[in-house]
């Protein structure tokens, strides 16, 4: 048998590649999906932040969703200046005020939701989109108020409202004030329904807790992306409370659809088209191509 180690024998000593030909791969330019597939960041962005090999839908924020849904990424951001107070002088391992400052500095965001008004496939809509990177997309007074103002704007402009949820639930640092945002946003959604304007709720990975128990589940249609975690109590909490093994795929969007709570699941590349198809159908308008 041939000595296979010869195949790898270096004939010339030293590294031969010229320095200028070496390719640097700085951190962040590559993305590795949970199944181990590696994709270049630029290619990932072009593919709607979906890993092309395994269709894994990467978690993205308001910046990316606005880019995907608004024509030419053109929109007016509403209520930019709203930001949190610390009404309860809350402290855990950190002061809430410090936590807010740190989150603002890290993310460049004011809070966990942004609202945009602009055209999607040529027609105006209002989109409120949560950012998980800001304290786990938690819902406090600012999130509630911005959603309510977004809905008010949709009513004023007589346009559909799209809510993109991505949230760990209510923000503990605002305690019951956070809890009441469930009621506040739901009340405003009732007014939107009264105005007979379509409400599309997109539940993205993850949508949990108080967010699920309010606006995320109240859409004229509730929709999602493949593989998103959607639930009220998180899987770990359910496991601890029941001591039972969780069924396979528990709380994935597919599981949630099977149990009757999602109208459909769509690949992110079709998101814009499908949302607008629904709007045209339910408003009895000609279908935009």
């Amino acid at each position: 048998m041939e000595d296979m180690s010869l195949w790898f024998k270096r004939k010339e000593k030293g590294i031969q590649t010229a320095t200028e030909q070496k390719k640097d791969t700085p951190r962040g330019l590559w993305y590795k999906s949970p199944t181990g597939k590696i994709v270049e960041s630029e290619e990932l962005a072009k593919n709607f932040y979906v890993s092309p090999e395994d269709d894994y839908h990467v978690r993205i924020g308001s910046k990316e969703y606005f880019e995907i849904l608004f024509d030419d990424n053109k929109f007016t951001e509403l209520d930019v200046k709203l930001h949190s107070k610390d009404p309860l002088k809350f402290t855990d391992t950190k002061k809430y005020t410090d936590r807010l400052k740190a989150a603002q500095k890290k993310t460049g965001l004011k809070d966990a939701v942004r609202t945009g008004y602009g055209k999607s496939m040529g027609k105006y809509i209002v989109i409120s989109c949560m950012d998980f990177s800001f304290i786990g997309g938690s819902m406090g007074s600012v999130v509630g108020e911005k959603i309510v103002r977004g809905i008010d704007y949709a009513i004023k402009k007589k346009v559909p409202f799209v809510m993109i949820s991505k949230s760990g639930g209510a923000r503990m640092m605002e305690a019951a004030l956070s809890l009441m945002q469930l009621a506040k946003t739901s009340a405003k959604l009732a007014q939107l329904a009264e105005a007979e304007l379509p409400y599309i709720s997109l539940c993205t990975d993850p949508t949990t807790g108080g967010t699920t128990a309010s606006y995320a589940m109240l859409g004229d249609i509730n929709i999602s992306e493949p593989g998103a975690l959607i639930g009220f109590a998180g899987p770990r909490v359910v496991l601890e409370a029941t001591g039972k093994e969780l069924p396979e795929g528990f709380q994935t969007s597919e599981f949630v659809q099977e149990h009757g709570f999602l109208d459909f699941i769509t690949h992110r590349r079709d998101l814009k088209k499908k949302i607008n198809l629904y709007i045209d159908l339910i408003q009895n308008n000609p279908i935009r191509k």
Binding site: I221, Q257, H259, G260, F264, Y278, L281, I282, Q283
Partner: protein, 317 residues
């Protein structure tokens, strides 16, 4: 294509015609005249057989394995404008009951209907077109959504019955059907119902209250299937033909009893013999009826629908 027992004489003639044409192609013998004779005979026989169908034969046709099902109609009628919507927002997405939005021309409709499978696997997946309570609740959710936005509702009925299961009872099969019937009587948008296959009892009526109820020519609609009727009243499954006759379950019978509004003619031999034609006919019927109903105000619509149902029933004194 599968043939039913009473269709066998047609199959014989069709086979003869095929043979005749093959001979014509493969030899120099002039078979034009012979083929023509067979064709004429075939046309006459088809007319003869399908014109004089018994009630039981229509039941058989309504269940023909090649007959188009709800999604076949919707996809043919709406093309790529159809957007299926899932779930009852309570417990499950029932695969035996489907629904969604789609366009005919410029008009949006909310389509709802029972769905059967076309092979063993999909028949199980669709639970043979027998919906659970969650199916009826999904249907109602979609109807209410249509009402909110002023979109007319189109229902396709094709079910051997609501599913008689333990969990169906636990979740309130009766309540679900009852609620649908009540809400459909007062829904503020037009409802056009078409029976495209089997219309079995409460399972059918649970999506069957409408301003216009149409029956395709070879379908049945009654309070029970002829087999079950036979087994209950005759204490044997053997009397299904008699039961089918007795139940007056065909489209002409139902029209005579003023329980449906119109009979829709199928292509000769049944819907499955010319699916495209059938889809076209049904699509045109929906559009024509909607054009009439569209002119009514929500109040006129609901009033006349209520009148229609309140006046059903035959009695003395």
């Amino acid at each position: 294509m599968e043939y039913l027992d009473f269709e066998l004489p047609i199959k014989e003639l069709e086979d003869q015609l095929d043979k005749c044409m093959i001979i014509g192609e493969e030899s120099d013998v002039d078979v034009t005249e012979t083929c023509k004779q067979i064709e004429i005979k075939l046309a006459e026989m088809r007319k003869d057989i399908y014109k004089n169908l018994t009630a039981w034969q229509r039941v058989q046709l309504s269940r023909h394995p090649n007959r188009p099902y709800t999604l076949d109609y919707i996809k043919a009628i709406c093309g790529d404008t159809f957007l299926e919507l899932h779930g009852d927002r309570t417990v499950k997405d029932d695969k035996a009951m489907i629904g969604g939005l789609g366009k005919i021309g410029d008009q949006s409709y909310m389509f709802i209907g029972q769905q059967k499978g076309y092979n063993t696997k999909t028949r199980q997946f669709r639970n043979f077109g027998m919906a659970n309570p969650e199916g009826y609740r999904k249907a109602l959710r979609l109807m209410k959504s249509a009402e909110k936005f002023g979109i007319p509702v189109v229902c396709f009925i094709d079910t051997p019955g609501a599913y008689p299961g333990i969990e169906a009872e636990e979740r309130g099969q009766g309540e679900a059907i009852a609620r649908n019937i009540l809400e459909m009587t007062r829904l503020k948008v037009p409802i056009i119902v078409t029976i495209i296959g089997e219309g079995a009892s409460g399972g059918a009526l649970g999506i069957g209250v409408g301003d216009r109820v149409l029956m395709l020519e070879n379908t049945w609609y009654s309070v029970i299937s002829p087999e079950s009727c036979s087994s209950i009243l005759w204490r044997s499954w053997e009397y299904k033909e008699q039961a089918a006759d007795a139940l007056k379950l065909t489209a002409p019978d139902m029209k005579k009893l003023k329980l449906i509004d119109e009979i829709v003619r199928e292509p000769v031999g049944g819907a499955h013999r010319n699916r495209e034609k059938t889809f076209e006919i049904v699509k045109n019927k929906i559009t024509a009826h909607y054009e009439e109903l569209e002119k009514l105000s929500p109040k006129e619509l609901v009033d006349s629908r209520m009148d229609k149902y309140v006046n059903m029933g035959v009695f003395n004194g």
